[in-house]
């Protein structure tokens, strides 16, 4: 291979971490960073103990509980025995192996994918894993980050490596400018709507174009977060000055003496001019409209100005059948205007949209207004204790409370309803999370994925509305 062969960012990170070539595109890949939470780790620790093995690099790990922590009354007994067992196991394991552990009552506690960047642990060019599929979030910094299963968690702890098959390169370019009222969430949903939930299968997606460059780091995280919903295991955005400024000064960031070397290394990571992508998709950002999902897969998405599609309009019989099933589950009829769907509950949170900008976006929409009486509950769940503190310093909590919203403690909450935060059967939920699967927010719950601004507007109106005219 000639030395000048242009490489993609993914190629570079792969090559930088290849410990051993194993043939047929398989490599033993070194893992730099590992985030650990309470649900997918207990058996991994147990496996280590059973085999008498140690953790190879404690300094590569941060452990934090998030999936099933309660979001209120934390000073009272947790009624869920399973959750208590998992939380206690994480604490005991972290102590036994002397890991950096952030307990539930620590100001830094929060969703793994919010605290990684917040602590400066997420950095360009690293390989990063976590026993959670939305690890793709960290790709916003140009980190190769992806979710793994419990036996792989144990494998990384013991060996600091994974045996991986190299993925293909895909580039999604979003040109132009994003219209006012649209956010990174709408870009993510529009991309998934365009490529489908299998569009990125077997690929790592690099996001490029003027819309991506203009996004804040928080917006890039929202976008990369949903790469997994587009079928890709990981997403990437080329690191730039915004990235470096975000990282600078955070607890795990390179220290002053190493900073310049780090930045110049990070600058070298972007895809070379002329690098080859196996698949290219181009979208025009000017055409993007606030998005709302109507079905039970993230690709079941339409603009808020649209209507629920008729199953007959899908080309393949299997899709038609799927659409009919989705409509039955969602209690919707073909042709119904999206703005005619009323909302019973609203959830603003999850690793997709629970950062300070999301909180500000909600506050800006609802300031001086009240939630509709028909909306039973509006949960605002910050992604971390630091987000919570920042929001309170800005007085956002007061705006939420004045509107009749419920301001909670940080955690995954109603994103997957593993704790007490659940929607009831048949209820329509406007949710800023990433998955609208059957039963995800509680048995029978009907999830509509939207941006924070759209969720806020729906909470006030009692049904979906176009936040651009709100």
């Amino acid at each position: 291979m000639p030395k000048t062969m242009p490489k993609t960012m993914y190629d570079k990170i792969w090559d930088n971490h290849l410990v051993e070539e194993r043939g047929k595109g398989v490599g033993l890949i070194y893992i730099d960073r590992h985030l650990v939470h309470e649900v997918t780790s207990p058996q991994a620790f147990d496996g280590l103990r059973a085999a008498g093995r140690d953790i190879r690099r404690r300094d590569s790990i941060i452990a934090v509980p998030d999936h099933n922590v309660p979001t209120k009354d934390r000073d009272q007994d947790n009624p869920d025995a399973m959750s208590v067992a998992q939380l206690e196991a994480l604490e005991a394991n972290s102590k036994e192996y002397a890991l950096d552990y952030i307990p539930m009552n620590d100001a830094r506690q929060g969703i793994v994918h919010v605290i990684g960047p917040e602590q400066g642990f997420t950095q360009p060019g690293v390989t990063m894993v976590c026993g959670d599929s939305h690890t793709s979030t960290h790709g916003a910094f140009g980190a190769l980050a992806f979710g793994i299963g419990t036996s792989e968690v144990e494998h990384v702890m013991a060996t600091q490596t994974l045996l991986l098959k190299k993925a293909k390169n895909m580039r999604v370019t979003v040109n132009g400018d994003l219209p006012v009222g649209c956010s990174a969430k709408d870009v993510a949903l529009a991309i998934i709507g365009a490529v489908g939930t299998a569009g990125g299968t077997g690929h790592v997606i690099e996001y490029a174009g003027s819309v991506i460059e203009a996004l804040t780091m928080e917006g890039r995280m929202t976008l990369c977060n949903m790469s997994i919903e587009a079928g890709a295991r990981a997403g990437l955005v080329a690191p730039d000055d915004k990235t470096f400024n975000y990282i600078k000064g955070r607890p795990y960031a390179p220290k002053a003496g190493q900073w310049d070397a780090a930045v110049s290394f990070w600058r070298s990571l972007r895809s070379d001019e002329g690098a080859k992508f196996d698949k290219e998709v181009v979208l025009n950002g000017n055409d993007i409209v606030p998005q709302v999902t109507w079905g039970t897969s993230p690709e079941d998405v339409v603009p808020v100005t649209g209507e629920v599609p008729a199953p007959e309009t899908f080309s393949e019989p299997s899709k038609q059948e799927g659409a009919q099933k989705a409509l039955d589950y969602m209690g919707l009829v073909a042709g119904q205007k999206i703005t005619n769907i009323s909302v019973d509950r609203v959830f603003v949170g999850s690793c997709t949209n629970s950062r300070i900008e999301d909180m500000r976006e909600v506050a800006a929409v609802i300031k001086g207004r009240k939630k509709a009486d028909t909306v039973k509950e509006v949960l605002i769940v910050p992604g971390s204790g630091l987000v919570k503190a920042q929001a309170e310093e800005e007085g956002l909590d007061k705006i939420f409370e004045a509107a009749g919203f419920d301001w909670r403690e940080p955690g995954c909450s109603m994103c997957l309803a593993m704790n007490a935060d659940k929607a009831l059967p048949g209820e329509h939920v406007a949710s800023t999370s990433n998955r609208n699967f059957v039963g995800r927010q509680g048995p029978g719950a009907r999830t509509h994925l939207v941006s924070p601004a759209m969720a806020a507007a729906a909470a006030i109106a009692g049904h979906f509305v176009d936040v651009r005219d709100f």
């Binding site: 070194y30 207990p42 085999a51 190879r56 300094d59 060019g125 144990e154 060996t159 600091q160 190493q258």
Partner: protein, 200 residues
């Protein structure tokens, strides 16, 4: 993981077809945060009556097959959910080898990961082994020679060479990767020079 070379033991006959992982370990026992503690719930529907009382002379707990390290099973053994708890439970019951006409793929690979040998033999041979097991004859499984011997009969079986190495050396996937310990350490030494800020 314990090395697997050759074992001689009496065998438990359980020649039912399509035994799924829900029979091996029912879902309600999966709530544990450990990878041990599944022995009590293993094969629950076979070992306990509807009221939850242990059936005294069931094949797993009765005196006849006590201490058996070999399980003789039916075809498509281990089908259904991919739960790794199934081999964990079988391991805890003391079995090191399962002989059956066929196994479900994921179950078989989960067995290797946990040091359990799965031997596939033609149905007629398995039938003969079931009879021998019921008669209390010991069976010898030799992984190196890839043979199963019982009384005067000798059967040979096929086995994936990589998996054979792993079992014979007592290596799970992590153990296999740790053979590259040297390369991993070299990588770290090099990376520490290039990107020292990743190390504390």
């Amino acid at each position: 993981m314990e090395k697997f070379t050759k074992i001689t033991s009496i065998a438990t006959p359980f020649p039912r077809s399509n035994v799924d992982t829900d029979i091996i370990i029912p879902a309600k026992h999966l709530k544990s945060i450990k990878r041990t503690g599944f022995a009590a719930g293993a094969f629950e529907s076979v070992r306990y009556d509807a009221g939850g009382t242990l059936i005294e002379d069931n094949v797993f707990d009765g005196p006849k097959y006590k201490g058996a390290q070999i399980l003789i099973a039916g075809d498509n053994f281990g089908c259904g959910s991919s739960r790794e708890h199934a081999p964990w439970a079988i391991d805890e019951l003391g079995y090191r080898c399962i002989i059956a006409p066929s196994f479900a793929d994921i179950f078989a690979s989960n067995c290797i990961k946990n040091g359990i040998l799965t031997v596939s033999l033609p149905q007629a041979d398995v039938d003969a082994l079931v009879m021998a097991a019921e008669a209390g004859h010991p069976i010898t499984v030799d992984l190196d020679a890839q043979t199963v011997a019982c009384e005067n009969a000798l059967y040979t079986f096929d086995f994936n060479p990589t998996h054979k190495d792993m079992l014979m050396e007592g290596l799970d996937e992590i153990g296999q990767t740790l053979k590259s310990k040297g390369a991993i350490a070299d990588f770290e030494a090099k990376q520490k020079l290039m990107t020292p800020w990743l190390y504390r």
